[in-house]
């Protein structure tokens, strides 16, 4: 009897602190670790690299990182559901080529932007159709469309490099705040990030994505419309790629058939570093955002010191390997410590 009384009192005490305890439980430890790493790198760079601590860094770094960040959001969703989209950079290039060829003909920028988004939607829908309804493995299908869309970009714009975009558009995209150095387009990017967080972490669709990542059959039995979900994911990926393409064209003031070539590997590396498992079923948007920023800050710091890109590529590769191998090692160490402490308790009880 007295035991239950004590328990009741203890529970009340726990309730007061349980909000933090609950929050602590929900927070992904790996994301926190990445965040600490990000702050650590920022501090390290600020101390050791001259000229790093300035609003110029904020401006340039954010402008460089935006396409990768945008693409990483939808790519994370896709990889969590155990698929992959390798054609994203080619869709960026195709959108850029579309914009370039329309502007070259003398038409309005608004038409060009609308056409680019439409192209992204169609490209994504084609990917989605191949993966969801025809049933092709996404790796194979998107390797094919990677080449297809890049080839179409060459058909659309040829060898031309189109420049001279309308002043209002380029000055908005390239513009930065005088005070903080933050680019004007950042609010739009933040809206996208919030949207991705809501979709993945606070909606039934998001839970369905995790389910899909664990097992397609189980997801179906739980009521997820597998085909429709995958189709929508690839359409979203295509649309996001065309938005990134629009940004790319206006930011560099140049539309070419090879715009953003090779970007898909950087995006996927950042997504995997952010804790998304390549096998699906695990990962968070905040983790991905932090890891994109982490790679961006490391890259920027190296470039600012004029360290060769060769070393940069090596470091990024090592980071990626560490991000995959690290949790495994951590897990093994924990298991060893747990079992040794259990052995100690067992022996002390005796």
């Amino acid at each position: 009897m007295s035991n239950s009384k004590v328990e009741v009192v203890n529970e009340n005490k726990l309730d007061k602190g349980s909000f933090f305890a609950k929050a602590w439980e929900r927070v992904n430890k790996r994301d926190l670790f990445l965040l600490l790493a990000l702050f650590g790198v920022i501090i390290l760079n600020s101390i050791s690299i001259p000229n790093f601590s300035s609003i110029t860094t904020v401006g340039f770094l954010l402008m460089d990182v935006i396409p990768i960040l945008l693409l990483a959001l939808t790519t994370a969703l896709i990889i969590i559901s155990a698929e992959i989209d390798l054609s994203i950079a080619s869709i960026v290039g195709l959108s850029a080529a579309t914009i370039g060829s329309i502007i070259q003909r003398g038409d309005d920028m608004l038409i060009a932007a609308g056409a680019a988004l439409l192209v992204g939607l169609i490209a994504g829908a084609f990917n989605g159709f191949l993966v969801a309804y025809v049933g092709l493995p996404s790796l194979a299908a998107t390797i094919g469309t990677l080449a297809l869309y890049r080839g179409l970009a060459l058909v659309v714009i040829g060898d031309a490099s189109v420049g001279n975009f309308p002043e209002e558009w380029t000055s908005f995209v390239q513009g930065r705040s005088e005070l903080t150095g933050i680019p004007f387009v950042i609010p739009v990017v933040i809206v996208m990030i919030v949207w991705a967080i809501i979709v993945l972490h606070a909606s039934p669709l998001g839970r369905g994505l995790y389910a899909l990542g664990y097992s397609k059959e189980a997801a179906k039995f739980v009521g997820v419309n597998v085909e429709w979900t995958k189709f929508v994911l690839f359409v979203a990926s295509g649309l996001m790629a065309s938005i990134a393409g629009l940004y790319w064209v206006l930011r560099y003031g140049s539309a070419r058939s090879d715009s953003a070539a090779g970007l898909e590997l950087t995006v996927i590396a950042a997504v995997l570093l952010g804790g998304v498992s390549i096998f699906g079923g695990r990962g968070t948007i905040p983790g991905v955002v932090v890891s994109v920023m982490l790679i961006a800050v490391v890259t920027y710091g190296f470039r600012l010191q004029r360290i060769s890109d060769v070393i940069l590529v090596i470091i990024t590769g090592l980071l990626l390997i560490a991000s995959v191998v690290g949790p495994n090692i951590y897990q093994k160490i924990r298991e060893k410590l747990d079992s040794s402490s259990r052995n100690k308790k067992a022996s002390s009880v005796q």
């Binding site: 000229n51 609003i55 340039f60 490099s161 070419r256």
Partner: protein
């Protein structure tokens, strides 16, 4: 159980305080940062000049930069070189940004694209830097160091081809990247000359791009011969392209049957002259281009010249130069190489 939850709360509090502290420190460092990039210490002592070539891993680039190093050392300037590993349009932008942030006063760049590099270069100029393009022009610069007059480059190669195969037959062009300003200006001059000159009745059946990549150029050369077995001549106005094409031809059945002309580096092309694959090719001394750029840069930074037509300045061992229209400076005449004189040019080496 409560002990375990207390432990959880403790570690949460600890972690939270670490995160909060790191966030505070990194944000404070960012906020305390200077509003504008400060000039690096010691910049008042030695002027620094940064070279941004089309791409690294390119022997032609190495020779140019050698000349740049020589010129910078002669004038007591600090020499820096940065560059990407590929010649894509937007690859150079992060490196220009680095120079903007580090406050470099003289930037010498071989543009991969006439417009994509401009937004970043304009920021550099707004910050007080002098921008010189060399080898490959862009729109937003104070001076353009042109190795040889474009028309002369085109006419020289056409003349060499005419001497070997006469005025009739199918020919093809193997260029670098599709948007390279220098290659495109030479090819344009070539096409104009072929159209207007009654002696030149060639049929230009193909124009392919090796992207200044050795493997790709080799494959393009293979493709050309397969697609057009009656090809009589190939013009390759890029040192990477002509070396790869010569390598392919010298081991194929077409050796001696297809005339290869273009722009090549003597040390690379020597073996092909000796074994008969190539009869004649042309170039200039690339290190002169880099050397002249250093002197022009110093003259601009000192205020000796402003880039207006008609101004003159002295460039060390190369003598005195007059600025032409639109800020163009021609370095010298086209050098033609063949079996007789190839041995004299071993000094153009990397």
């Amino acid at each position: 159980m409560s002990r375990a939850s207390r432990q959880r709360k403790l570690s949460f509090k600890r972690a939270f305080s670490v995160i909060a502290l790191s966030a505070a420190v990194s944000l404070t460092l960012g906020a305390c940062a200077s509003g504008t990039p400060e000039a690096p210490e010691g910049s008042a002592d030695a002027l620094s000049i940064t070279y941004i070539p089309k791409n690294l891993n390119n022997p032609y680039t190495t020779v140019q930069l050698k000349g740049g190093k020589e010129g910078a050392a002669e004038l007591g300037m600090t020499y820096l070189e940065v560059g990407a590993l590929d010649a894509a349009a937007d690859s150079q932008v992060p490196f220009i940004q680095t120079e903007v942030q580090n406050g470099t006063k003289i930037i010498v760049i071989a543009a991969n694209d006439p417009t994509a590099v401009c937004p970043a270069l304009e920021e550099a100029r707004a910050g007080g830097a002098k921008v010189i393009t060399f080898d490959s022009d862009a729109e937003c610069r104070d001076l353009f160091i042109n190795q040889v007059d474009e028309k002369e480059v085109a006419l020289g190669q056409l003349r060499q081809l005419f001497d070997q195969i006469g005025g009739k037959g199918e020919i093809a062009i193997l260029s670098a990247t599709a948007n390279a300003p220098n290659q495109n200006s030479w090819i344009k001059a070539m096409r104009e000359e072929i159209a207007s000159n009654p002696d030149y009745e060639w049929d230009v059946v193909a124009e392919v791009y090796g992207d200044d990549d050795d493997a790709k150029s080799f494959q393009e050369a293979q493709g050309l011969m397969q697609a057009h077995p009656n090809l009589k001549g190939i013009i390759s106005p890029t040192t990477v392209g002509i070396a790869a094409t010569a390598r392919y031809l010298s081991t194929s059945e077409y050796k001696g049957k297809v005339a290869l002309v273009g722009l090549g580096l003597p040390p690379q092309m020597k073996e092909f002259i000796k074994d008969g694959t190539v009869t004649a090719f042309a170039l200039w001394d690339p290190s002169d281009v880099g050397y002249l750029a250093a002197h022009a840069g110093k003259a601009l930074a000192d205020g000796t010249i402003t880039g207006a037509a008609g101004e003159t300045f002295t460039a060390g061992r190369l003598g005195s130069y007059t600025i032409g229209e639109n800020g163009r400076i021609i370095v010298g005449p086209l050098l033609e190489f063949n079996a007789e004189n190839i041995d004299q040019y071993d000094y153009i080496t990397f």
